[in-house]
């Protein structure tokens, strides 16, 4: 069920009406039923996967928590009888048991994700290797449709399991309440990847009707629909046309296409998350923010602190830190420091851990070499920037005026980062890595710059009016982002007199209604991040 479908609006209306009329202690039950209905409509067989993740994670977390309780009780009971060493040895033994529960549950859930998401990719690569060595056998695999949201809810469940293991959240005793955390319908489409400690109190709490909260939620949704339908879905046609045939559309077309795709991706993903957070807000449930005006970043490092924040923090907390503090990594670092010297040796864990994270990030995004290379390309750029930092410092010392306090330099740094993101994003949409490099090289060799102004862009499936609408909408998005730097735009509008508020919000509603990309020739499309 698309967020942009009539069915979804009907579903949402009924859910909102029931949510605020039934006794409040049953609100979470309604959300659970609604979420499973939503998920069932997306494909009844998908329920098997989400149920498997929910039940295995809930059970493993309970066993871990029970073990922690037993350990504490035992140590309390034998406080005087046991020596320091005996206590340490007992704790180590119990920790091993808990680690086995974590490892078993992780393996099972990652195996499920791996099988449905990556088996086709692995088989295709094996066939390629077999053919390269003259083999005639063709391995086959009945491909399984990727269950909606599996990458998102699997990560949420894993995060919860590790949090229980680390004792940062208590284990949920009720499987149905835990099921709501995993399946809450707005986040199933494309995240954000919520944490149990942040999300569960809102999901399971009681929420009286508050017109202001509901209105704010609906306003956020409207802003999301504006981005998705007026910008993302409109420019999609031109992006698809260019990327669909990079031989015909090379050079300046590629530059135009990758900039347009980067705008589309922003409008699509942040718009979708605005809708998700808006729905939750209208239900009285706070949700983690996923973006912090990412295209205002002045470096790639800063960009990754501001883009898809919940995914990045997930990888940081549940992969990067555990790998970097693991015993074997400490051993590697120690060896590197003694052999390569203090300065280089210290960098080894940074390289290795960030390589692991970026490889995993690439793989998480999709079963294709393009995503893997995209992840590693990000890693290379980030590591290069780290190593070049002393050089940057020298440059800024030599030219003290040229730093981020200087507005023209700041604009230059933002523009440079935006272009870099455009280049990296090209890996997302081209059909192969070779194709990406060929397309990039063509920007410098094709010499077809006049296509940018001779009317050729009007042959990409968009009219002048489409470009005009998308352009004005982009200016509105930019203006809103600029105003947001000094606080919530909705709060600022709320402080205005009623006629101004009326014109602004109904104006936005009319823009979405009249200028959204639907109707003849358009189909509201699924969100880009839904395929992950």
């Amino acid at each position: 069920m698309l967020f942009t479908s009539y069915g979804f609006f009907g579903f949402l209306l009924i859910l909102f009406l029931l949510y605020y009329t039934i006794p409040r202690r049953f609100q979470w039950v309604l959300l659970l039923l609604g979420s499973y209905l939503f998920y069932c409509i997306s494909g009844p067989t998908n329920l098997v996967y989400i149920l498997c993740t929910t039940l295995t994670t809930w059970y493993a977390a309970r066993r871990i928590a029970a073990n922690q309780q037993r350990q504490k009780a035992y140590l309390r009971e034998h406080k005087e009888d046991l020596s320091r060493e005996e206590k340490k040895s007992y704790r180590e033994g119990q920790k091993k048991i808990r680690r086995r529960w974590v490892a078993g549950c992780l393996l099972l859930n990652l195996a499920v994700l791996g099988v449905v998401k990556y088996t086709g990719f692995v088989i295709a690569n094996l066939n390629g290797i077999l053919h390269a060595f003259g083999g005639t056998v063709e391995l086959t695999w009945a491909s399984i449709a990727l269950p909606m949201g599996i990458s998102f809810y699997t990560f949420m469940a894993i995060g919860y399991l590790i949090d229980v293991y680390r004792e940062t959240v208590p284990a949920e005793q009720n499987p149905f309440r835990f099921a709501l955390f995993v399946s809450f319908f707005p986040q199933l489409v494309q995240g954000p990847i919520g944490r149990y400690g942040d999300l569960a109190p809102g999901l399971l709490g009681e929420h009286p009707f508050d017109a202001h909260t509901v209105t704010r939620g609906l306003q956020r949704m409207l802003w999301g629909y504006f981005k998705k339908m007026v910008v993302a879905d409109r420019v999609l046609t031109a992006v698809t046309t260019i990327i669909g045939d990079t031989t015909a559309y090379s050079g300046a077309y590629i530059l135009f296409g990758m900039v347009l795709y980067t705008v589309e991706l922003y409008a699509d993903f942040t718009g979708g998350i605005d809708i998700t957070i808006g729905i939750a807000e209208a239900l009285g449930i706070p949700m983690a923010e996923n973006f912090h005006r990412p295209y205002f970043s002045k470096s790639l490092k800063e960009y990754w602190r501001r883009w898809h924040i919940t995914m990045c923090s997930w990888f940081r907390d549940y992969l990067f830190y555990p790998v970097s503090t693991s015993k074997w990594m400490l051993k590697i670092t120690k060896a590197a420091r003694s052999r390569l010297g203090e300065r280089v040796g210290k960098r080894i864990p940074v390289y290795l851990c960030s390589f692991t994270v970026w490889l995993a990030t690439g793989v998480w995004h999709g079963a294709s070499w393009n995503f893997i290379v995209w992840g590693l390309a990000n890693w290379v750029v980030l590591m290069l920037s780290e190593e070049l930092e002393p050089l940057y410092a020298k440059f800024h010392a030599r030219f003290p005026g040229l730093d981020n306090r200087n507005l023209p330099y700041k604009i230059f740094a933002v523009g440079r980062t935006f272009l870099l993101i455009c280049v990296l994003n090209l890996f997302d949409i081209t059909s192969s890595i070779g194709e990406t490099f060929r397309a990039l090289v063509s920007i410098f060799t094709a010499g077809n710059w006049p296509v940018l102004w001779d009317g050729s862009l009007l042959e990409l499936g968009l009219t002048g009016l489409d470009y005009g609408i998308a352009g004005v909408a982009c200016i509105i998005m930019l203006a809103v982002s600029l105003v947001q730097r000094r606080g919530s735009v909705r709060d600022k509008i709320y402080a205005k007199p009623y006629p101004v508020r009326f014109v602004l919000w109904y104006g936005l509603f009319l823009i979405v209604l009249l200028m959204g990309a639907y109707g003849i020739g358009y189909d509201a499309s699924q969100f880009i991040y839904n395929r992950f």
Partner: protein, 76 residues
């Protein structure tokens, strides 16, 4: 504390770690900094820092980090 300040200053010589209270919140220290310091802290103070210990409240100031180190030393 002097040893800890030396490790921190080695990474960011331009920062006065005796006064800063929001090293993580203000993005003075990022995950790369933390990873490159963890081993050195572990060796210097003979403690084991786990992923569970890496949270903003433990790394927001030199004082908080030193308190974590002392806590870990007591536990071990």
């Amino acid at each position: 504390m002097e040893e800890l300040l030396s490790i921190l200053n080695d990474r960011h010589p331009d920062i006065d770690f005796t006064t800063r209270e929001h090293l993580i919140d203000e993005a003075v220290l990022d995950s790369m900094d933390i990873v490159s310091m963890v081993q050195e802290i572990a060796e210097t103070f003979d403690v084991t820092i786990t992923a569970r210990d890496i949270k903003p409240e433990n790394f927001n100031s030199a004082k908080a980090l030193y308190a974590l180190i002392q806590r870990l030393q007591d536990e071990e």
